[in-house]
Symmetry: C2
Subunit: 417 residues, 2 copies
């Protein structure tokens, strides 16, 4: 059998299994999750041994230490996976929620009811915990799931996928609703992205190469690729808040999409604020790049090029621009931001209102760090990515964002006149 | 200038105009709509004269009478357009609605606020009223709009688009936010469907040839193409209700997507129900096609082929199948339905519950006609199509379905730990 017909057959099984899973009660789904948490703990030694084989292979291929670190499991990380599964089990079931309901003049009762999307493919890089977390969320939301992880964690992921399938089966949930792609063949992505009848949504979790591989997808792709986030320090900003927020937005975890890349500072406060911020960031050796007016204040700063304003560094690098007005800041963000997370620091009510209203990003902050753009920080109890899409879901995605709805209409013989 | 660069320049103007429109108050938007309603009434003679030129051309090309009928305007139809614009003005503004809001333990206040999607392209066939209705809805929801109508109504549409632009300008709304494509060149569709940076959503309103033209679109397309709707008459159905609902679902307007195409009848009631229905439909000369068991009851019925179960007739043709159980009916609908609208007629509570729960269509009816799948019948006060998509919007689409949301987060200096 060819790879393609093999994959298609598996996707058809996921479709059928997903239909069954969509009708499973919360009790069955939560039962499967509870068994999975147990299985992860009981199989700790076997998981570590599988992971050891992946690590050995990866070392032999000379992958970077940071990559190796993400790939590595240990007892604490396995316990964290088990806990995350238990947390998903504890979340309210989104399926069956009546979102809205009303009665029409002719007596028809219309209810808008939350239901699973169908089949979701999650394509990710090599952190094995994504296998568990993505599967747990898809299962809880009643969706069939196709998991396609990085080739370096294939042995670990295959073992984890087996545990998921067994746990589902034992709890009376359809194990077929989950399919872990057991081959690293890149051709699989091409097959997935053209399977419009069998996959309803692809969620990528990874970098530029994944984006490229998914280009031209006929199946809708919910991207969360670029995070070019801004903080604008207004003329009325409280300097202490501004310092804390900027430091947190840039330095608390520079490698993530909600970290600040561009800082805008109002000209009226630039001379006092910029040296203060530079001093605060100096111990972390943050590389500052600035516009000419920034460099007139901070002499040691490198010049920022036009390209800098559009670059997601994901590193301890910060581009700084001095602006003359709130309008200039809002215009700059519209041109250079990626629409993920942007913040204003201000004590001025009208500036705050205008920023909230006019900055069209998925998450817009007043006096808080952009780093809060995260499903857990939003209180969703889970996260399946952060969307900068303008359709379906926008911003942090939790369980609800893995659902759609249908209308149930109850009548007593009504016909349309 | 080439067609492509010309269109792209117009789309860029729409993007900029749309950003401005997104920030316009309800008063400004409603003012533009009020002016448009007035303008339609005042320009009646000019509109009819433009329409006359289209009709003349169409007649010369020998188009079908039904097509000509849809293309034709008269004073009553122009008044209907003006009224529909006034109705949209009277609807609540979806933009700015706070969908949800909550406070986090750290004091952050999170609000989910409804905002426009951005730029929407509406691609439609030759009914000129779509120009007015689509523009009014896009405007009210704060979206930039690209309108691409059929070539046969080009003169009429161009005139209507001018009135829209003038009304917007007079009311202080950005006329640039609306762009009517002034050429019938099919190449425009190719340009639109690859303009991912400039168009956020394409809504097609038309048939198979439009579907084909939009294949491979990189811009998301919200389709509402196929309507293969079922009515299942359960063994416990009230025969009078079943007769009324089936007659209404098939015959009240057979040319629309929410009309019934396949009828399923439980074996226990087929012998009594089918002759009754056939008699009711006889005066309208509905062509019945049936499975062998149907044909054993209704001798004059043509045999239904496998293809019949998957065909949207949009005509006075009905395929009938006798089934042995609710399970068989639900399974049949899963295989042959298009997921738009399906109904059960039953007096049995558990059959009704199972049908509601297990039939996964955008609209699922108990004891009511599928013909209610419609934005106006749902009480939305407007309609921009009916979606069978599983992402973004599903079912009848009103104003809200032309929006997305953003999160506004208010803090007092919070940083992420």
């Amino acid at each position: 059998m060819s790879l393609e017909s093999d994959i298609i057959a598996s996707l058809q099984r996921v479709r059928a299994g997903g239909r069954e899973l969509a009708l499973c009660s919360s009790a069955v789904k939560n039962g499967a999750l509870a068994r999975l948490a147990d299985a992860l703990r009981r199989a700790q030694a076997a998981i570590l041994s599988a992971n050891g084989r992946d690590l050995e292979q990866a070392r032999a291929q000379g992958v970077r230490p940071a990559f190796l670190e993400r790939l590595t499991l240990n007892p604490a990380r396995i316990e964290a996976m088990a806990l995350s599964v238990e947390q998903v089990a504890a979340l309210p079931d989104p399926v069956g929620e009546v979102i809205a309901g009303w009665r029409r003049p002719n007596g028809l009762e219309i209810m808008q009811v939350r239901v699973p999307i169908g089949t979701i493919a999650i394509v990710y890089e090599s952190r094995p915990n994504v296998t568990i977390e993505a599967a747990a969320l898809a299962l809880k939301a009643g969706n069939g799931a196709v998991l396609r992880g990085g080739k370096e964690s294939l042995v670990t992921n295959r073992m984890l996928a087996e545990l998921i399938g067994e746990s589902m089966g034992q709890a009376g949930a359809p194990a077929d609703a989950l399919f872990f792609v057991p081959t690293p063949d890149r051709d699989v992505i091409r097959i997935l992205k053209h399977s419009t009848k069998l996959i309803d949504l692809i969620i990528p979790r990874g970098g530029a190469s994944l984006k490229e591989a998914l280009a031209g997808s006929e199946v809708p792709v919910l991207p969360h690729f670029d995070g070019i986030c801004h903080v604008y320090v207004d003329r009325s900003a409280d300097p202490a808040k501004a310092e804390e927020i900027c430091f947190n937005a840039k330095c608390s975890r520079p490698s993530v999409c909600n970290a600040m890349e561009n800082l805008l500072v109002h000209a009226a406060v630039a001379e006092s604020f910029l040296p203060r911020l530079a001093a605060r960031m100096a111990p972390l050796k943050v590389e500052l790049r600035g516009c000419p007016r920034t460099r007139a204040i901070l002499k040691e700063v490198h010049p920022a090029t036009e390209e800098d304003w559009d670059t997601e560094y994901l590193d301890l690098i910060l581009s700084i621009k001095v602006v003359d007005s709130l309008d200039e800041a809002i215009g700059f963000i519209a041109r250079h931001g990626s629409g993920l997370a942007d913040a204003i620091v201000t004590e001025d009510l009208s500036a705050a209102s205008r920023f909230e209203h006019e900055v069209d990003s998925a998450t817009v902050y007043v006096n808080a760090s952009t780093r809060f753009t995260d499903g857990f920080e939003f209180g969703f109890g889970a996260e399946t990515g952060i969307s900068t899409n303008r359709l379906h879901a926008r911003g942090p995605m939790g369980l609800r964002e893995l659902t759609t709805y249908k209308y149930v209409i109850r009548g007593s013989g009504q016909v349309r006149i």
